[in-house]
Symmetry: C2
Subunit: 140 residues, 2 copies
DNA sequence: TGCTTATATTATAATCATTCTAATCTATAT
DNA sequence: ATATAGATTAGAATGATTATAATATAAGCA
């Protein structure tokens, strides 16, 4: 019951259960941003946790952490959802070869000015997706 | 058999069938860019065509038109795929209230310069997604 | 510390978009 | 006209996600 996530969870109105703490440790005890699909996370849980966590619990917890603002959902692919431990508004590279997301911090992109507006609507976010692929230029 | 799409299809190596011609007419006989999900298209076909077209055929045709370069697939939502009759590289507004895409032509956005590169990878596309929602500022 | 109850977890079934299958049909070349 | 490669079709299969409803547990209170 004594984890660095016990209070974090409780302060967000989530009961600190074994399963939630384990998932938080997997997601947040890392140096860099983590981009993952539910399946990625389920695999890690399986190889990493002594006790099994039901898939439904993994879905529930990830969605709850998203709702509470600790994760951000990203769609680049309609096959499955990706989630991101970097919840700020930021850009991405998407590697078409590996299907992996890479953060592209705002410092590497000039502020984007949209010179068009839609009546009655306000801008919620502006994000760039840079698709990349292997450079076979100088391969041969 | 005499449609403006008969030759277009044939010249792309697709046999001009009744179903494909009907789908092309629905998709391309319009003034503006059309953003649609498979379900949107299936609905239009149902209300619009005298003869029923099987859902599998709609999927097949849309995927084939995408492969041939007449449609572009867009992912903003993991629930379903969207397709776009504007196949150029361009930006979008996504209205979170209506779940509709709106083209944001390049002329309204300054060229985007990415000051970071990933070794061994080359940039395939750079596209901006602007999420918008109702402006309830001056609604009260 | 031990009950109570609101919440959470779980296995499993249901849903829904998409893809597959294999039977039937058709555009096109001969 | 005929043959055949390619297309359409209904329905089954798949796979991600969500719902269900029985069981377990965290937290508040006696
Ligand atoms: Mn979701
Ligand atoms: Mn697809
Ligand atoms: Zn990110
Ligand atoms: Zn578009």
């Amino acid at each position: 019951m004594n984890s660095k996530y016990t209070n974090k969870l409780r302060s967000s109105g989530m009961r600190p259960t074994r399963q939630r703490i384990k998932i938080c440790e997997i997601l947040f005890d890392r140096e860099h941003t983590f981009h993952f699909s539910i399946n990625d996370l389920a695999e890690i849980v399986k190889n990493n946790a002594k006790e099994k966590i039901a898939l439904a619990t993994i879905y529930n917890t990830v969605h709850l952490l998203t709702k509470k603002g600790y994760l951000k959902e990203i769609s680049i692919n309609s096959d499955k959802s990706y989630f991101d431990t970097n919840t700020s508004s930021h850009h991405h590279f998407f590697d078409e070869e590996t299907s992996k997301l890479i953060d592209l911090d705002n410092e590497y992109v000039d502020p984007i000015n949209i010179r068009k507006n839609i009546p009655g609507k306000k801008v919620k976010s502006i994000e760039v997706l840079v698709k990349i692929d292997n450079d076979n230029q100088n391969q041969k």
